[in-house]
Amino acid sequence: MKPLKTILSALFKDPFTFVAILWLAIVTLTALFLPLLPLELSNQTDSTVALNAPSQEHWFGTDALGRDLFSRILRGTRISIACGIAGALTALILGVGYGLISGGGSDRRDHWLMRLVDLVDSIPLVFLVILVASVLRGSALEASGGGLGVFFVILGAVYWTPMARIVRGETRVLRHREWALAATALGVPQKRILWREVLPNLMPTIIVTVTLIVPRVLLFEAFLSFLGLGVQSPAVSWGTLARDAFEVLNPVQTAWWLILYPSVTLASTLLALNLLGDQLRKILDPKQR
């Protein structure tokens, strides 16, 4: 893998990628340092300012209960970003582990493990996830605060198969390279070769794949929360904000800001992540050059 400095300078050279990284940095820092921001107002309901349009006082307007939308979006950032990262981590661990075991083993083991992945891929997982989410609703686990943790894992579990396929394919190629054969000839055990020799060479592919999984998890979180099966009130995510917006959508009084601002925040984060992923692929993947 190229040194970090080269990668970074290549990334910053493209102005669009630079803006994308800047935006992602702002979002991540907001999520991390949220408790330090002066946000004690965000959960205060105040019916006198319910559904106010954006103004000096409330930059993004207020929702049906008079809460300031700007601070609610900031609060939502935390859970949305946490979902994205936790989901991508789950997919990373499951996918890389499975891919290494499948690609690094005998042909027969590889064959059956990959048939299992085929089976998983042909299942409409989204619907099963909704089923699991409905089972989790109101359960003791959720009441104890563990529901959100399970939710993160579920999100990641949906997207592990592409990672497993990619890692498995590369592992099968790399373990037959000369240096891997040389290590085998020297008596290095296969497990060690996979872990110490093959895995580091997989890093560029893994980084690119993870970067592209994060936006998909974010999108999925927004989807589930929008349907009311994901993050539950009083917790806030970008998906639940959109759900709240649609609940008060009516032709008499159009609260357009409730739809527009959370949507734009989510959309620009997704676009930035996709852009960063594509750019990383161009830089890290030698086949692309």
């Binding site: 089976l119 409409p124 109101g138 739809i259 949507s263």
Partner: protein, 306 residues
């Protein structure tokens, strides 16, 4: 060909069985039953209810019973609407969902093809750039964002179309357009790169040297090979549309299968949810098989069995 269909059907049956098994055990592991919301009934009443829905039998027996009743298409009553059969409830939702899905898929393919051809024809000029931008937005934006903006614009700002409902033909316009945008973007993207690649092949150059125009070459010589990658993603696209239809049916209040599914999931109507999951699984298997058959027709090389 027949061998392919048989083999794929067997694989599909295994998938459907796996989905049924997983769903069954996920549901049974749920803490609390579907009747918890009501006041705690006397023991005898509770036992009678459990006996009626066969919740008192051993788990493996329930599993076999359930499996058999689904096989014979007689899944029994819904837990939340005891007067209605699960099959009847789902069947009532099918026409709306089917119409919405089919029309959106058709519109998506037609729109995507037109945009893809224009983008490949005008490669690197402004129409291409606009279409590429539209395509990447269509793929990366959540459906409710698109739906919300379209409702704000065409239902409230310009009162041309109803914002929700499923009564007049005009109420179907917005949901169909919303659901069609993602597949259109996907088709346009794949077709554009496929057409550009195909137009650099020898046969395309030969066609042009015989006097066929650029558009003619694209349409009559390059479109067929370029549509192979599009066809191969029909399965995932259909899956994404099924997922999307859940959101769309919710936003536009369309009484389809998706709405029953979400409601069932919300109030734990186990047979109903299970039925909807199975229905979606079967539909997806059929669509994937159709996509593979279509691919064999488009690309003779794909017909050869490995």
């Amino acid at each position: 060909m027949i061998q392919l269909i048989v083999r794929r059907s067997v694989a599909s049956l295994i998938t459907i069985w796996a989905v049924f098994t997983i769903s069954f055990f996920v549901i049974r592991s749920a803490p609390g039953g579907p009747f918890d919301a009501e006041r705690d009934p006397p023991e005898a009443v509770k036992a009678a209810i459990e006996a009626r829905y066969q919740l008192d039998a051993p788990l493996w027996q329930q599993y076999l019973n359930q499996g058999w009743s689904w096989l014979t298409l007689n899944p029994g009553p819904s837990l939340r609407q005891p007067d209605h059969d699960v099959a009847t409830i789902l069947a009532a939702g099918i026409p709306a969902s089917f119409l919405l899905g089919t029309l959106a898929l058709l519109l998506g393919i037609i729109l995507g093809t037109i945009l893809g051809v224009i983008a490949a024809w005008q490669q690197d000029r402004w129409p291409d750039r606009v279409i590429t931008l539209f395509a990447s937005m269509g793929i990366s934006l959540p459906l409710y964002v698109i739906a919300g903006l379209l409702i704000l614009l065409f239902a409230f700002h310009l009162p041309w179309l109803p914002p929700a409902g499923w009564t007049a033909a005009s109420s179907a316009v917005l949901p169909i357009i919303c659901l069609a945008l993602a597949p259109a973007a996907q088709v346009a993207r794949l077709l554009r790169s496929g057409l550009i690649e195909a137009s650099q092949e020898d046969y395309a150059r030969t066609a042009r040297s015989k006097g066929r125009g650029v558009v003619g070459t694209l349409l009559f010589h390059c479109l067929r090979p370029a549509s192979i990658p599009v066809t191969s993603t029909l399965g995932p696209t259909a899956a994404a549309m099924l997922t999307g239809s859940l959101v769309i049916e919710q936003i536009f209040a369309i009484p389809g299968v998706g709405m029953h599914f979400i409601q069932g999931a919300m109030n734990r109507d186990y047979p109903l949810v299970l039925g909807a999951v199975l229905l979606y699984t079967i539909l997806l298997q059929i669509l994937t098989l159709l996509g593979d058959l279509l691919m064999g027709w488009l690309d003779p090389r794909a017909r050869v069995e490995e």
